[in-house]
Symmetry: C2
Subunit: 272 residues, 2 copies
């Protein structure tokens, strides 16, 4: 029996939230450029508590940036997300933009529906998927649903749930330096040994190419904790809010222009 | 581009813990029979706080049941689990038995190592994997690491982590009726929409065949919550210990001899 890996993926562009929307709009412009000469973008504002406004806002920004075809997918409930017609609205786009808000609201409505499957399939077919804040967290399969701030990891610091499943080996966190999320990302890596934690600052994005090569866009830092090299964690011994021991997982900090190679494993649908 | 699904899997036999070890040993005997005419079994007692004793105990039971080749894999640390020689010890077996204890201890030591990959690969090659209690929970990819008892689901009731990844769409819980775990399984399904929650009673097992057809062995009940049909959950709105709303996910209760079809999806390495 052979395991045949999917042959191609699109670019993944997780953004750490609070990206510039009024000035040079470096990150949003970069997303539009990634979509090619004739960008056709779908905005999914479902994570937002004010989804109508959030959707309109991003649609206006992308139109301002010269995109002729932008549409907003407003999702009312799981039944709506599960309709074939809803999923079909992604067939003609070459970029999907997922807004911020509450990642658990987004995934409660979309994960496990035809729309969730269509986002994944279209990305595997090569289109670009960008997401900011909650939209960045929701990209991974093991998603940080919520958690506490602080530099120190502890066993109960983070709550995981299922995300969209675009990157099986990544766990993405956002507003990273601004909200002191080092502790919760380390905890997430300890709970998911073998995975790579990616913490993205505000107004900062990580452009991840299908071959695993990635570079930083924006003003802040991207922090990578490579749990594939985890030597030891006492997460099964530490109780509740005890601090954790985590050893061996190298930490990499990248800033604008820096390149890093996450290895092709990151984009395997399942790692064997 | 095509997604080619793995063609075969072995039988998966999650056991709800406290299986009969001294009487008829119906479940353990069933596992041995599943391994074929010449069973060669590896016992992985890593979850246990008394791994040496636990390993010896199961080795003696399987020897009593007529198995000529039983060996115990004692894993000291992640480096040991990551050695090629450790993983190679699974090459000749046709059954793996994973003991109870603490699933987070097991996964902290094994997930993301060569041994973890070998368990998955060998199962995909068709061997049987059984696990009891912690060993049953650890089979799924989204693993219940720990949580609270009670019938009522609430947002903070359950902590998830990465398991061995044998069944991507299942979330397995054990000691199910005995420890009142309906609430935490419902919460786990709400956190992972589209997945199937499987709650297994003590001294009870679910024999899951590669085609998704499964049947119950033992004295208790297996409870299945099919989150693929989840209509709505307010998990993004409910705070901390508020009770949750979960609608539309059918609940099925099966007892000894009952058959059920989980659909082939359950065994896809990734569902699209």
């Amino acid at each position: 029996m052979k395991f045949v890996q999917p042959l191609s993926r699109g670019v993944l562009l997780p953004i750490g939230g609070a990206e510039d929307k009024t000035g040079q709009r470096l990150i949003l412009r970069h997303f539009v450029e990634l979509c090619g000469e004739s960008p056709r973008i779908a905005v999914i504002p479902t994570a937002s508590a004010f989804a109508l406004d959030t959707g309109d806002h991003y649609c206006r920004i992308f139109t301002d940036l010269g995109v002729r075809s932008v549409e907003c997918l407003h999702i009312d409930d799981r039944q709506h997300a599960d309709q074939t017609a809803t999923a079909a609205r992604l067939e003609q786009v070459n970029g999907i933009f997922i807004s911020g808000g509450d990642q658990l609201k987004l995934t409660s409505l979309i994960v496990g529906t035809r729309l969730g499957a269509a986002i994944r399939r279209r990305w595997h077919e090569g289109i670009v998927v960008a997401g900011t804040s909650a939209g960045a967290s929701a990209m991974s399969r093991q998603m940080i649903a919520f958690g506490r701030s602080g530099a120190q990891p502890s066993q109960r610091m983070v709550q995981l749930a299922s995300g969209l499943g675009l990157a099986d080996n990544l766990i993405i966190d956002q507003h990273f330096t601004q909200r002191q999320r080092m502790g919760r990302l380390l905890t997430a890596v300890a709970l998911n040994p073998g995975m790579i934690g990616v913490g993205i600052d505000e107004n900062t994005a990580l452009d991840i190419h299908p071959d695993g090569c990635c570079h930083v866009v924006g003003v802040g830092t991207v922090t990578i904790i490579d749990g594939r090299q985890l030597e030891y964690t006492n997460i099964h011994r530490a109780k509740r809010h005890d601090p954790l021991t985590v050893t061996g997982a190298p930490v990499t900090l990248l800033t604008c222009g820096a390149q890093h190679y996450l290895s092709a494993d990151v984009h395997q649908s399942t790692t064997y």
